[in-house]
């Protein structure tokens, strides 16, 4: 018998790795629920334009504030628009903008954090104090300023959200880098004379990737809430585009007698946030970042 039977684990393809992680995530109840909700929302976002029963901007004064019925499943709003149509379409903008916003946040936050962690010293001090300064500004005020100066187009919202939600990632990436940087393999790479770029790319990123991805997933759900708040305040997407934040804001005053027009977008928004949160949690556990789930011994 060969001594090293236990080591007969071959190098896996990336696809196999990803599918293994997804299977592990789905194998725990919370992960399964989170993944299902997230996948449901993503699929809905793709197919909603084709399945929407009515035109989302078709105003019909004769149908104002109709209660849910067989014809209008979720009822109609104060302008007589179909709430079901607007709800299933309402997640599209939010998902798209925050998804790309999170990618930008991950990219700049992650890279800057890693860089600061690696070089340390004065550069690190200066950059981190600037990040701290930005962290102390209430983001919503800053966002309002940007939006009122530059408008509410997607091209403005994505980078602006990406910037504001990346600040937190800088700190996480820097801390994760500090854990790795003291290890001898980094010292070894330095002593060999590798460039900073090569050290970041080859030695650090593979070791901090997981922590940063999990943080990014968490930021995504925060950003979604933030984006919806902007819309709620009227600074997100502009009407008549269907958007949950906007819909909640419009129907808020009618809540006491036409609850249906506000319930549907609230359920849509909160279920998506919960879904992303649960998924990010399960993702962290599947990657073994959560210590309590590590294998024994």
């Amino acid at each position: 018998m060969k001594l090293d039977n236990i080591y007969q684990e071959e190098k896996k393809s990336n696809f196999a790795k990803v599918s293994e992680i997804i299977i592990t995530m789905a194998s725990r109840p919370s992960g399964f629920i989170g993944l299902s909700i997230l996948i449901f929302h993503v699929i809905l976002a793709f197919i909603s334009p084709y399945i929407a029963p009515y035109d989302f901007k078709a105003i019909n004064p004769t149908l104002m504030l109709q209660a849910p019925s067989a014809e209008y499943w979720f009822g109609t709003d104060d302008l007589g628009r179909d709430v079901f149509t607007r709800t299933i379409l309402g997640g599209r903008t939010a998902l798209t903008i925050t998804f790309f916003g999170s990618l930008i946040a991950l990219l700049w936050g992650g890279l800057l954090g890693i860089f600061c962690g690696l070089v340390g010293g004065k550069t690190d001090d200066i950059v981190m104090r600037i990040v701290d300064a930005f962290l102390s500004i209430p983001w919503i005020l800053a966002m309002l300023l940007i939006v009122s100066l530059l408008g509410t187009s997607t091209e403005v919202l994505i980078p602006a959200l990406g910037f504001f939600y990346g600040k937190g990632i800088v700190r996480v990436a820097r801390a994760a880098t500090h854990d790795v940087i003291a290890k001898d393999f980094i010292v070894s790479a330095r002593a060999r004379g590798h460039s900073n770029f090569s050290i970041i790319w080859n030695e650090i990123i593979p070791n901090v990737r997981d922590a940063i991805l999990v943080e990014g997933a968490m930021r995504w759900s925060w950003m979604l809430l933030g984006f919806s708040s902007l819309s709620f305040l009227g600074f997100g997407v502009s009407p008549p585009t269907p958007d949950w934040g906007l819909m909640i804001s419009n129907a808020r005053g009618l809540m006491s007698f036409a609850y249906w027009s506000v319930i549907a977008p609230i359920v849509g928004l909160s279920s998506l946030i919960i879904g992303i949160n649960l998924t990010a949690d399960a993702f962290a556990k599947a990657l073994g970042i959560d210590r309590s789930t590590k294998a024994p011994v």
Partner: protein, 675 residues
């Protein structure tokens, strides 16, 4: 004396793997601990020795569970007891001394308070009595001035003192059984010898039974009456300590004792092939079959049972123990190392000094280092091409610091590092050109940390090849396979990750990576201290073989004098960042020696109950080198007086070319030391 206080019966502990298989960590262990005896449990990492010790106090690690058997203490099974009942036994009847006392003590509570807490829990003493008891306990573990120690915080004590406090806390409940899990492993050699001596004294003084868990046969030999040798979760040999160390009748113990380097023998010990099987991979046959020199066909499919031999009072798990019984005196054979160095000097360190002091603002602005008492000072060493020079000393002696500066990882305060007698090497990495970086490579202590866990072996070894030689594609692959073969690993290792390798294999990969750069000098920083004893000899042999093949020069840092004796041509002894003695290794290990070398040599633990360590100096720890005079003045037992305190001692050279830095004339040193 025959009263049994702890009875372990058919104990099996294991865990369930992902696939649902039951994997055993301990397999059917039965043993008894008698009152007043000290039992040493020895084994490699992963042999289950710590799991057994923890089970003896009714504790099973999270994730593991008891599969069968019991641990009986005072005729009740600890493993079935409720936590509430166990609390009454733990601390009062059975106490534990952890490996790392520094982590076991609460950092923000004073020592006295922590001992008081233990007393409140585990004794019925009143408040006034407790206070007296605290100083009594601290006295017992020989801590100087108990009253002041009690008022200190753990971080204000040295590692040895912390370990003593841990012993005092364990003794607070006057336990019947004391479990010690590698209690001296993290300590310096001299401190280790002192703590062991203390434990011996306490065992005799209080009549407490002790279970001493360690991987170090040297430490076990000093304290235990009886030894249990564990391998792969089984007891393979159990018997009186002297018999086991002098005439081991199990092939594993025999091989292990042969592979430990000894002070009295220069040259590399024979290595044991292979490594211990991982839990869950053994299904039938003897677990030691693959590594055994005495195995037969029947060992492959039949597991031997533990057999008790009345005449030797020993239990052994082997079919062939008889063949070892006749000639089992461990005749250690060593491969003498060839002195292969040339006259040409490859690296000169002259007047090197290094400072860790925080620099003042003015110095920072001027980008200079000013410190009149630097951590490392006056280092003058000329290293010849192809030689192995060892830097030896306790922790804090500056040996790793010097390595870092040679590698360019730490700026020096002053002095020159010259390569090939003409090229001056900057101690700043950024000022070195790629070729300067290539000629010096590092091998680190812990391969778990020095190999990127997310890279395959192929990627790890490819890095220097790509960086220095720009190799690509087939040629790169060919070179990697070539290097793997040189470190005796097969081609199939290329696609593996470090976590899939054993400790010895990982260190081989690290060696291969260092040699990939085709360096002239390799800096080895404690390269064997994280490895198991049976693997250590194999790595040392490999390093020696590679050196002979490539003519590389090694600078070898170690705290283990026996390992240094085995591999090095020349030894430099350091204390507080100053050189004490430099010379050919055979002469450094002989008298006359610098008083500090004498202390170090005396404290070495040999796996032989007849060789006791000689405790020459106190094991106090100095934080800073003295401003003037001899660096060793604080601990020297041969101190002459003011001359040692005020004047830096001169270098004295013996007939054999050994330089000793001491005020005492060589003849007197020699006379004293031989007596």
């Amino acid at each position: 004396m025959t009263e049994i206080i702890q009875k372990v019966k058919n104990l099996s502990i294991g865990f369930k793997s992902k696939k649902g298989e039951e994997i055993l960590i301990l397999r059917n262990i039965s043993t008894n601990i008698k009152k007043g005896e000290t039992v040493g449990i020895v084994g490699e990492s992963g042999s289950g020795k710590s799991t057994l010790a923890l089970a003896m106090m009714g504790y099973v690690k999270h994730g593991l569970y008891t599969i069968g058997g019991e641990c009986e203490f005072n005729s009740s099974n600890l493993l079935k007891m409720k936590n509430r009942d166990l609390e009454k036994i733990r601390g009062r009847k059975i106490a534990m001394i952890p490996q790392n006392a520094g982590q076991a003590l609460t950092p923000n509570l004073k020592i006295g308070y922590q001992i008081d807490e233990a007393l409140q829990l585990h004794s019925d003493l009143k408040e006034e009595e407790r206070e007296q008891k605290i100083s009594e306990l601290l006295n017992k573990v020989r801590l100087p001035s108990p009253e002041t120690i009690a008022l200190r915080y753990p971080h204000e004590l040295s590692g040895g003192q912390q370990q003593r406090v841990a012993v005092a806390m364990a003794l607070a409940g006057t336990p019947d059984l004391l479990l010690l899990d590698e209690p001296t492993t993290g300590l310096d050699v001299t401190t280790q010898a002192h703590v062991l001596e203390l434990l011996n004294f306490i065992a005799k003084d209080t009549g407490t039974s002790m279970v001493y868990v360690s991987h170090d046969l040297g430490a076990i030999a000093q304290v235990s009456d009886r030894i249990i040798v564990m391998y792969s979760g089984e007891i393979v040999l159990e018997g009186p300590s002297r018999d086991i160390l002098k005439k081991p009748i199990h092939p594993y113990t025999y091989g292990l004792l042969k592979s430990i380097p000894k002070l009295s023998l220069a040259g590399l010990p024979q290595s044991m092939p292979g490594s211990q099987p991982q839990p869950g991979t053994m299904h039938r046959g003897c677990s030691f079959f693959d590594r055994c020199n005495f195995s037969e066909e029947k060992c492959k499919n039949n597991s031997p049972q533990l057999e008790y031999l009345e005449e030797l009072k020993t239990s052994v798990r082997c079919f062939n123990y008889k063949s070892l019984m006749n000639d089992s005196q461990v005749n250690q054979t060593v491969n003498k190392i060839k002195m292969s160095f040339q006259d040409k000097e490859i690296l000169n360190l002259s007047e090197v000094s290094i400072s860790y002091a925080k620099q003042k603002l003015l110095d920072q602005v001027l980008n200079r280092i000013s410190d009149d008492n630097p951590t490392v000072k006056d280092i003058n060493i000329n290293i010849k091409k192809g030689e192995t020079i060892a830097l030896v000393g306790e922790s804090g002696s500056g040996k790793s610091t010097i390595l870092k500066s040679i590698a360019g990882l730490l700026r020096t305060k002053g002095g020159i590092i010259k390569f090939d007698q003409d090229r001056s090497l900057s101690s700043d990495l950024k000022e070195r050109d790629p070729n300067d970086l290539r000629i010096i490579q590092l091998i680190f202590q812990n391969p778990d940390e020095s190999l990127n866990p997310n890279h395959t072996v192929e990627e790890i070894i490819a890095q220097p090849l790509k960086l220095y030689f720009g190799l690509k594609g087939e040629e790169l692959k060919k070179n990697i396979i070539d290097l793997l073969q040189k470190v005796r690993l097969g081609e199939f290792y290329m696609s593996r990750y470090p976590r899939q390798l054993s400790g010895g294999e990982k260190q081989r990969v690290a060696v291969a990576r260092a040699f990939a750069a085709k360096p002239d000098i390799i800096l080895c920083d404690e390269v064997t201290s994280a490895l198991d004893v049976s693997v250590q000899a194999a790595v040392l042999n490999l390093l020696q073989q590679l050196k002979e093949d490539f003519g590389t020069t090694y600078i070898f840092v170690s705290h283990d004098l026996a390992v240094v004796r085995a591999i090095s041509d020349r030894v430099a002894v350091l204390y507080q960042g100053r050189l004490c003695e430099v010379g050919p290794s055979k002469d450094v290990y002989q008298f006359p020696s610098h008083p500090y070398t004498e202390v170090l040599l005396g404290a070495v633990l040999e796996p032989d109950p007849d060789i006791k360590p000689k405790l020459v100096a106190e094991d106090i720890v100095e934080e800073k080198p003295p401003q003037k005079g001899c660096s060793f003045q604080g601990r020297c037992s041969r101190i002459l007086g003011d001359i040692c305190k005020n004047e830096v001692p001169p270098w004295q050279i013996t007939n054999s070319g050994n330089s000793i830095r001491c005020h005492i004339p060589l003849k007197e040193l020699q006379k004293d030391q031989i007596n």
